[in-house]
C-alpha cells in the first residue's frame, strides 16, 4: 500500500494545469448591490477556458437580455470571461454562464446582482 500511495503522489505531482473551471469571483460580485452598473461584466474562473464553448448572458427581471453579446477572453487572461453591458437602470439582473475548461470539463452557474435601489 505504501508503494501504491507513493506512486499515486508522484503521478499527481506532475499534473497539468487544468481541471473543472469553477467561478472564483465576479464583477459585479455575486449577490451584490451596486449604485451603478459597470460597462462590462467580468467573471474570473479557476481554470483556463475554451471560448468557443463558453458563454455568459445577463438578463433583467423581465428576462430580456441586457448584455451586448460580445463575450470574450481578454488577451493574456485565459481564465477570464467578459461581456459588455448596456446601460442598466435600477433593478435585479441575472447572470447565466457556462464554460468549458481547456481540458474539456464543462461547468455552469447563475447568480444575481442589483443596480440602484433594486
Amino acid at each position: 500500500m505504501r508503494t501504491a500511495f507513493a506512486a499515486a503522489v508522484l503521478a499527481l505531482a506532475a499534473l497539468p494545469a487544468s481541471a473543472h473551471a469553477f467561478l472564483d469571483h465576479a464583477s459585479p460580485a455575486v449577490g451584490s448591490a451596486i449604485p451603478t452598473a459597470p460597462p462590462a461584466l467580468t467573471l474570473w474562473f479557476t481554470q483556463d477556458l475554451e471560448l468557443a464553448f463558453s458563454g455568459v448572458t445577463v438578463a433583467n427581471a423581465a428576462g430580456q437580455r441586457v448584455d451586448l453579446g460580445n463575450v470574450r477572453i481578454p488577451p493574456g487572461q485565459p481564465a477570464e470571461l467578459q461581456v459588455g453591458l448596456k446601460p442598466l437602470p435600477p433593478g435585479t439582473y441575472t447572470v447565466s454562464w457556462h464554460v468549458l475548461s481547456v481540458d474539456t470539463h464543462p461547468t455552469q452557474g447563475t447568480f444575481t446582482f442589483q443596480v440602484g435601489g433594486g
Binding site: A4, A11, S18, V30, F111
Partner: protein, 304 residues
C-alpha cells in the same frame, strides 16, 4: 466541406464530444457539485480514488480498538456505468488479547447512473454492492466468511431551486443511501448473519455554492472551497436478529475540495451503546482522476 473548414471543425468536434462524456465524471447536477462523502456512498459514477482513508474507530461495544487504512477506487466503464473496488488494512486490539493485523473484507460495486436532473440539482444511482467472503482475515479480524450482496439506491439533491426569499439555504444539499444486505450464509460460528437494512445520509452546506451562486461574502481560496457536513449511517437487522439491534454512527466534519483532490476530516460518534463508546475520527485524501488525468485514466474505459 472544404479542407480549411474541416481542419477547424475537427478539433472543435473532439472537444465537444469529450465535454459531453466528461459531464458526469464528477459529482455534478447542474450548478451543484457534490463532493465525495467519507461515510456514505456517492450518488454518481466517477473516476475518483480515496488513498488513503485512515479511521480510528470508537471503542467497540466489546471493548476492542480498531484502526483501519483503506483505499477505494471508483471508475467509469461508460458515461453512465461504473464500478467500485475497495479494501482496508486493519489493526485490531481486542480487549485482553493480542493485537491482530491484516486485510479486511474486499468490497466491490457495480453502479448505474439512473438520472441527473440539472435544474433541480437531483441525481440518482443504482448500486449493486458485493462483499466477498474469505477475502480478508476471518479468524483474527472477523472478516466475513460469507459473501454479501447489497442492492441499493443512492441519491443526491441540492437546494438551489429554493426561492429568493430562502437564498441562503440554497447551498444546502442532501445525499443518501438505501440498501439491503443479503448474506449468502445464515450464520457464522454460531452468530446469525441477518439481512440488514442500511440507510445513511449526508447533510452538506457548500461554501463554493454560496460564493458562486448566492452571495460573494468575500471568501477566497482555500476558505471558499470548504464544505461542512454531517453524515449519519445506520444498519438495522431485518431478521435472524436474536437480540441484535440497530447500529450506526454520526459523523460531523468538513471537506476541502481542490482542483485535483479533496481532503476530508470527520469525528465519529457512536449513535447508541451497541455501536461503541467514545469518539473516533477519520481523515481522507481523495483524488479526482478525471481532472488529474483527463485524457487517459480519467476517461471512461469505453473511451480509451
Amino acid at each position: 466541406m472544404d479542407r480549411p473548414l474541416w481542419r477547424a471543425a475537427a478539433p472543435a468536434a473532439v472537444i465537444l464530444l469529450s465535454a459531453s462524456s466528461a459531464a458526469l465524471a464528477h459529482g455534478f447536477a447542474g450548478e451543484r457539485f457534490f463532493p465525495a462523502t467519507l461515510l456514505t456512498d456517492d450518488p454518481f459514477v466517477a473516476d475518483e480514488m480515496s488513498l488513503p482513508t485512515i479511521t480510528r474507530n470508537p471503542t467497540g461495544a466489546d471493548g476492542s480498538q480498531e484502526t483501519d487504512i483503506e483505499t477505494d477506487l471508483s471508475k467509469r466503464i461508460t458515461s453512465d456505468l461504473g464500478f467500485t473496488i475497495g479494501d482496508q488494512w486493519e489493526y485490531l486490539q481486542p480487549k485482553g488479547a493480542a493485537a491482530a493485523t491484516g486485510f479486511g473484507t474486499l468490497n466491490t460495486g457495480l453502479q448505474y447512473q439512473l438520472f441527473v436532473n440539472a435544474p433541480h440539482e437531483a441525481i440518482g444511482l443504482l448500486n449493486l454492492g458485493v462483499s466477498w467472503g474469505h477475502s480478508g482475515r476471518v479468524q483474527a479480524l472477523g472478516a466475513d466468511d460469507f459473501t454479501t450482496i447489497s442492492p441499493g439506491f443512492d441519491f443526491g439533491k441540492g437546494f438551489g431551486d429554493l426561492p429568493n426569499s430562502l437564498a441562503y439555504l440554497r447551498p444546502f444539499a442532501l445525499t443518501g443511501n438505501l440498501s439491503v444486505d443479503f448474506p449468502t450464509k445464515t450464520e457464522s460460528a454460531g452468530t446469525p448473519n441477518p439481512n440488514n437494512f442500511n440507510y445513511g445520509f449526508a447533510f452538506e452546506y457548500s461554501l463554493p455554492y454560496l460564493q458562486c451562486c448566492v452571495k460573494d461574502i468575500g471568501l477566497r481560496r482555500p476558505f471558499s472551497q470548504l464544505i461542512p457536513l454531517v453524515e449519519v449511517a445506520f444498519s438495522t437487522p431485518l431478521d435472524r436478529d436474536q437480540g441484535l439491534s440497530t447500529t450506526g454512527t454520526i459523523q460531523p466534519g468538513i471537506i476541502w475540495s481542490g482542483q485535483y483532490f479533496q481532503i476530508g476530516v470527520e469525528a465519529i460518534l457512536p449513535a447508541n451503546r451497541p455501536s461503541g463508546k467514545g469518539i473516533g475520527g477519520l481523515v481522507q485524501l481523495h483524488f479526482y482522476l478525471d481532472d488529474a488525468f483527463p485524457s487517459t485514466f480519467g476517461k471512461a474505459i469505453s473511451e480509451w
